[in-house]
Amino acid sequence: MRNRRDTFKWAFLFVVLTVLSLDYWWWGAATRLSLFGLPTWIYYFVALQFVLAAGVFFFSRHYWVDEADDAGVDRDGGDKAP
């Protein structure tokens, strides 16, 4: 079952990833070229996105799964016919 600690853990992960996308430490720095002649910071973002995808994968396995039963509960406590 989900609990407050799980919620905090996942929220923390995705907030950290979002903050890491504000990569101001690269700004104004000398550019170095890496594989295929692309700037090094390009690979930083590629890696960040793969970490994001992995995060979403584990999130969907461990958190999203448990919430299935209560996520669609009617705001007003009832159900309505289509």
Binding site: F14, L17, T18, S21, L22, D23, Y24, W26, W27, G28, A29, T31, L33, L35, F36, G37, L38, P39, W41, I42, F45, V46, L48, Q49, F50, L52, A53, V56, F57, F59, S60, W64, A68, A71, G72, D74, R75, D76, D79, K80, A81, P82
Partner: protein, 478 residues
Amino acid sequence: MITYVIVLLYLGSMVAIGLASHRAARNTPDDYFLAGRSIGPVVLFFTLIATNFSAFFFLGFAGVGYRVGYSYYPIMAFGTGLVALAFYFIGFKAWRLGRMRGYITPPEMIGDLLGSRVLQVVVSIVMVQFTIPYLAIQPIGAGYLLSQLTDGAIPYYMGATILTVCMVFYVFLGGMRSVAATDVAQGIMMFVLMVLAVFALGNALGGLSDANARVMDIQPALFSREGLDGFFTKRNWFSYMLLWILAVPMFPQVFMRFFTARSKASLQTAAILYPIITAVLFIFPIIIGVLGHLVHPGLVGTDADQILPMMLASLAPEWLAALVMVGALAAFMSTMDSQLLALSSILTRDLYRTFVNPDVTIDQQVKIGRWLVVALAVVGLLVALNPPQTIFAIATEAFTGLAVLFPTTIAALHWKRATAAGCIASIVVGELMLFGFHYGVIPAAWSGGFLPVTPIIAVTTAVLVVGSLFGQRRATVT
């Protein structure tokens, strides 16, 4: 000659796929607008990327790659990749509620959750207003592209008409089933052909590493984190990131995809793959744009948007250039067909049913939806005949205009104290601020160096919270 064969094969294939999918269709709004809520993981993923990656991905990215450099990659790739989180925060709950209550359009869901027809209409109007300019741009771009592909043998307007007629034909008949099926083919084409283009052009320039090193020698700022001429500041970087995350899920053609999922697994698979595809795919057009400085130096303004076809014409054989440009046509068509269907459903369900005929039957809704697809396509073509500059000026603000709906959507789904009055006030204030910034009524300096979206979202969120805390919640509309 080879160009005509390739274009004809492409259009014929799309119509055939659309027709084949139509055979499974039933005559209900659920089926016509949402493919019977039966779209599986792979198809949902491809239909999401084909819908969201418009002509701007194919031609515009290469253009900004030329003008700004590699710094444009992360803002698009990571900003769009983060939208995967919205598949859970918005998509999952919208999907569950859609199945329980039969929602077909986003305004229908938001209005019902907060018990307000007025809110439903306000959300509808915003979605229609800020999607129509983009819809109108698609046939214009497609017409220019087809004309360019055939060296003007097919005039611009004839090209726009041919492509629109083909698209309307399969959308009219099969609705979302045809759109989703063609999206899969178009999404695969876009991916494969863009990869092919990069490696062909890189090879023609002596390899990617060598070509990039030569561009670095002549324009090192294209490789800097800030971009050419310091295009990105730290504040507008933050704003762009905010803009993508908030705006993309609010595109009605993207939002409605959440309702179409067959299962939770469909949404989860699409959410996991989405950051990966944006990480891989978005770098290719940017590379082509940057390398364009080696072959076509000195392009300025909108001329740079033609860098992809120019590079292909200069460095690739005719058949390859034609193939890659057909990928661009696929990008145009896969976005426009989804926009047509989304707007048609909103006009039918949220406006016609609310104001004109509340007793409209299920059969009539499908019939009206079909003819609205035709009518909207005609509107797009009429705009393409004589494009007014004002529409395009408004289109540039479309992302922010739609992002204004984000706080309301989150509040409707996740905040029990949210009220319709608070949401309506939030949307109205947000759109007024947008027009204020756009027309200079609000001085640009008031945004503090951020893009307008940052102060606008801060104010709309505050208005929603305060308005809801002091307002009274109404009963749910039945």
